[in-house]
Symmetry: C2
Subunit: 342 residues, 2 copies
DNA sequence: AAACTGTAGGCGAACGTTCGCGCGAACGTT
DNA sequence: AACGTTCGCGCGAACGTTCGCCTACAGTTT
């Protein structure tokens, strides 16, 4: 392992003081072009790279962004993480920052991990994902006045910069799509109450129904855990109804639940897409290989990652933000589970 | 934002020199128990945390581990990343390290990203994943004699510490499972040549066939790209064969390809699991919700992450390694795509 | 009483930077 | 010729640590 080359080595070679090297390399201060060139050549020749720890110690910053997310349970994929992380790292790198990922297990150590990272000077700011109402991390960081950006929203009265995908709009697209296919009785597989994301998405369903002048029958809204079995059973119950009451379309708040509904329909020998139209949310990569391929709402993941980092960097560096809060529009990917046209 | 509390603040409060505080807190050097207690109390009272940048600058290390992986294409999920990352971060944290993730796009900047991280003192070691033959990253790091651990293997003659999942063993399990279900003509959906992982897995298929005294017909080995369409078409071709030649079981090197095979079978109205048995590899979370649920080989992801970090930390700190190379055994998850018993 | 031993804790230096002050030289102005 | 300005660059200090050496004092031995 070779020895690092420091600013002093460059100085020796260029025959100037090491402080002058610093100035030249950061092009501060007036220096003769000829001296500057000598320094640059020496630096290039020795392959000099500034030592980040030293630079950051001096500058009292870390150029690190803490990224906190809640890991999924083992049998549920987080298919977003790869792309989200990649996108954040790339944008951060371009701005001279690196990412420090740390998983956040609920009830774990609460907020002490954050305090630790702040107090030890590890990070200059945070990006939080997996947000919900009353998020303790957001509360803590607001109180500490420490820079952060959330991917997702929390209580309306908590005012902080965020990036979010408009889930209401996503479910509205999904519902409108079914309506445009001629469906009138549309059910929704929703989440339990007290979920920020769940409420948001559900609201989009209701907006679309209202806009089309369709009644929103409370019996057509099934709230419950976000898993396959629960959704399958709830959908199965709807399908036992008489033909004149039974929903012909189902929108689900997630793909997993949509798949539950597909199974319920197939168990009753319905042809999905014709007898029963189903739309999911998330556009999991495997959704396209299901039978039938699943219509789903896709989030602009790369864009979200980019925006989070851009906002945070601006915040850290005290620049003006064009917008403190960004709402991105999702996209509906139509496949055969909701339409036979294809 | 409150001001950081440094060792000097503690010193002032405990009425000793700041160097003594350092000694007490790292408990080396003889100090009166009474003085030590005074220092500890002051530190606790002020909420002192050592500043990592300063500490690391002094110690000439970063306590950071670079983690490099190749991001998946947009429509292919990396369902492993979440768990793998979480597991690494947690183990690293326990050992006093943090993770620095950086995606590696092939042909991108080649190896300069690594040089950069080394030269700027950002990391003490690397964990590489997405390995293949002739891996340029491994070559470079070996040449630099910089500590690293690979998740996956490369050429046999390149000697470096690695953790890998025994893919051969995985495919052997899969193949043996089909044999035990009474299948005799078993086909395999493999990858193109020159893939370390692909060769490894394929070898397991052959080993199982040989061990059972079954012939390995070259026509039953379809090499090609790892995607749905290619696998579906290849499987479709087998299914046009006469009943006495046609394979009754198919093992695939990945779940995506297994799904392709399922579609091919269903397109010919075969009942998967009875008329045609199919086994995948990876155990993607959605695989269980396919119809029929997919039998697949599951990798011990958490364990792999743990081992990688343990090895690397030992390497960095110059400790003795129990084993420089670790091969973990995968597990076969039997579902209905390969067996009607369930 | 001088010399030795041991202990508590202070002090200076160093890790690799950046930053602002200030000095000397060259040049221009009165 | 004396003075002011500008320019180029060196110098000291600081960021928060750790480390090894040094000192002062007390107790013990000769």
């Amino acid at each position: 392992m070779k020895k690092r080359v420091s600013i002093k080595d460059v100085a020796k070679r260029a025959d100037v003081s090491y402080q002058t090297v610093s100035k030249v390399l950061n092009d501060k201060a007036h220096v003769l072009p000829e001296t500057a060139e000598r320094v640059w050549q020496a630096a290039r020749h020795l392959g000099y790279r500034p030592h980040h720890n030293a630079r950051n110690l001096r500058a009292q910053r870390s150029r690190m962004i803490g990224y906190s997310w809640v890991p999924e349970k083992p049998n549920q994929a987080n298919h977003i993480l790869d792309m989200f992380l990649t996108s954040m790292v790339e944008v951060a790198k371009a701005a001279g920052y690196h990412l420090l990922p740390f998983p956040y297990r609920e009830g774990d150590d609460g907020v002490v991990g954050y305090r630790e990272l702040i107090d030890t000077g590890r990070v200059d700011g945070f990006i939080l994902s997996s947000m919900n109402y009353e998020d303790p991390r957001a509360r803590f960081l607001l109180e500490q006045q420490f820079p952060f950006v959330a991917f997702g929203r929390s209580n309306p009265e908590m005012d902080f910069p965020y990036v979010d995908v408009d889930g209401a709009s996503g479910l509205q697209l999904a519902t409108e799509h079914l309506i445009s296919q001629g469906h009138r009785r549309i059910a929704v597989l929703a989440w339990p109450e007290h979920s920020r994301v769940g409420d948001d998405r559900l609201q989009g369903y209701q907006a679309a129904m209202n806009a089309a002048g369709l009644p929103t029958d409370p019996d057509l809204i099934a709230r419950g855990e976000n898993n396959f079995e629960r959704a399958r059973d709830a959908a199965g119950r709807w399908l036992t109804w008489d033909a004149d009451r039974r929903p012909t379309g189902i929108v689900a708040l997630t793909d997993i639940m949509a798949i539950g509904a597909i199974h319920a329909g197939q168990a009753r020998s319905l042809t999905i897409g014709r007898d029963l139209a189903i739309v999911g949310f998330d556009d999991a990569p495997m959704a396209q290989y299901l039978w039938p391929p699943l219509t789903s709402v896709r989030q602009p993941t790369r864009e979200a990652g980019r925006k989070c980092v851009e906002l945070l960097v601006a915040l850290i560096e005290g620049k003006e933000l064009a917008a403190r809060q960004v709402l991105l529009q999702p996209e509906l990917i139509v496949r055969q589970s909701s339409s036979l046209i294809k």
